[in-house]
């Protein structure tokens, strides 16, 4: 199941946010090859989380977060324009209302018995299908993924890596890749084949909370 959580509603869903940050922390520790405690928990929350992004969360059967990413419009402040400015063509910002950035992709892969290959495939597939659906609803032309090396490799091995369009950048000790997806059937196909039948329209958690508050849903 895919759940959409607007950043401004994050306080209403502390468990889900905590699980997402937990995945980021586990990945940061594993990829840095450092013992637990060497990566400060606050390091997993960055400035871009304060900009009210749209979080896309993949939930498992127990409604626990199995994967997540966040979306920001490139018309505003983005990781791409902040971190890749030096390597973008002629140093110009990528800025269009029809192009959004997907960043901080994180998956339940490290040290978790639930993270089987099949489960990882399904999570990546669900997130990709949801991304394409969100982008189509917003009538976007392209999405830019800003992913670290491990996520980029996971996507590459599954034929979902997108088009590399800027040289990798080293940020805080991690190699970051900027990749391009064109919204539509071509983007959807490889993710759909990974997700199999496990796709459904995303649920907007902010709407759900409003329904609960107004007594229309229990």
């Amino acid at each position: 199941m895919i759940a959409l959580l607007p950043g401004e509603s994050r306080a209403l869903f502390p468990r889900l946010m905590d699980e997402m940050y937990g995945l980021r922390l586990a990945a940061a520790r594993a990829h840095a090859g450092r013992p637990s405690g060497a990566v400060h928990p606050l390091a997993v929350v960055d400035y871009f989380d304060s900009l009210d992004p749209l979080y896309v969360l993949a939930l498992d059967e127990m409604e626990c977060v199995a994967g997540a990413l966040r979306l920001l419009p490139t018309a505003g402040v983005t990781m791409l324009n902040a971190a890749f400015a030096g390597v973008l063509p002629d140093g110009l910002r990528v800025e269009s209302p029809l192009i959004w950035e997907a960043s901080r992709l994180t998956l339940r892969t490290v040290g978790d018995a639930r993270a089987t290959e099949a489960a990882i495939d399904r999570t990546i597939g669900q997130l990709g299908v949801a991304l394409n659906a969100i982008a189509e609803t917003a009538t976007l032309t392209h999405l830019i993924g800003v992913f670290d090396r491990s996520m980029h490799r996971l996507l590459s091995h599954r034929g979902c890596a997108g088009e590399t369009f800027a040289p990798p950048m080293r940020i805080d000790g991690a190699d970051m890749f900027a990749v391009l997806y064109e919204v539509g059937a071509a983007m959807n196909a490889p993710f759909k084949s990974l997700a199999g039948d496990a796709t459904a329209p995303p649920i907007n958690l902010a709407d759900l909370e409003r329904l609960r508050q107004t007594g229309c849903c229990r």
Binding site: S9, L72, G76, L92, A166, E182, L211
Partner: protein
């Protein structure tokens, strides 16, 4: 806010400080009028805050509806309640008013008032974000039957996404404290526009530039946005008009020659 008032506002902003206004500001904004009229839009609302402006005491620009409505909004604290504003400012995705939960008492009340004032039974709100961290919301009302078919609604949302960004950029340009910056496109964007102007297909442009058609369409889109054009065709025309590209005296080769050397250095092993 009435459609005519939007342009009156921009006109006044432009006249207030011409030093910060780009040369073709009003031309860009006037495109909006054609789009709105064609789509059957009756009213426009625009709210932005955290704008980079010299007026530190007025970081919020609010031009919702008529003056009497603004007073009503303030008195009723409607900004805190209005679901469109909540969903719009809190989110990044366009809000189709038809998909708002009509059982929500606040939505019911809001839409009741909209009908009472004959503003149109439906509408869309487009959240805006800016490079200075500003937030905005651009809303339009339209009649029940306007763009009722999904493909039409999709086309209208696309146009509103584009036009609201142009509108916001124009307001930003008129208010901004940053010095005027010359219009500049990357060599890749210029090469794509040049070849597009010669009628070259995306695939052929890709072959010429050593890039995939996906990347070609990406650079055309960023060029369109940078030129504040409402379509790629108009971006080509704008680039030609202001002398960024010359067509007719250049051959296909010129597009290839202008490709930056580092484009081929992109690490393709990762694909």
């Amino acid at each position: 806010m009435y459609r005519e008032d939007v342009f009156d506002l921009i006109d006044r902003l432009a006249r207030a400080d011409r030093r910060t206004v780009r040369y073709n500001l009003l031309d860009e904004v006037l495109l909006l009028d054609e789009v709105l009229r064609a789509a059957g839009v009756s009213h426009v609302g625009y709210v932005a805050f955290n704008l980079p402006t010299r007026r530190a005491d007025r970081p919020l620009l609010s031009v919702i509806h008529a003056a009497s409505w603004r007073k009503s909004y303030a008195q009723a604290r409607r900004v805190d309640l209005e679901p469109v504003l909540r969903a719009g400012f809190g989110g990044i995705t366009p809000v189709d008013w038809r998909l708002l939960d009509r059982d929500d008492p606040v939505v019911e009340k809001l839409l009741g008032e909209v009908l009472e004032f004959d503003l149109g039974a439906n509408g869309f709100s487009i959240p805006l974000r800016g490079r200075s961290g500003e937030y905005g919301l651009f809303s339009v009302c339209c009649a029940e039957d306007a763009s009722s078919l999904p493909p039409q609604r999709r086309a209208l949302i696309r146009r509103l996404m584009v036009m609201s960004a142009i509108f916001h950029a124009s307001v930003r340009g008129a208010l901004a404290v940053e010095p005027h910056v010359e219009m500049r496109l990357s060599e890749l964007e210029l090469a794509c526009l040049r070849l597009k102007a010669q009628g070259t297909s995306d695939h052929e442009i890709g072959v010429a530039l050593g890039a995939a058609p996906t990347a070609v369409r990406f650079w055309l889109e960023t060029a369109r946005a940078r030129l504040h054009a409402d379509s790629v065709d108009n971006a080509v025309e704008a680039a030609r008009r202001i002398g960024l590209i010359r067509v007719g005296v250049e051959r296909l080769r010129s597009g290839i020659e202008s490709t930056p050397a580092d484009f081929s250095s992109i690490d393709r092993r990762e694909r």
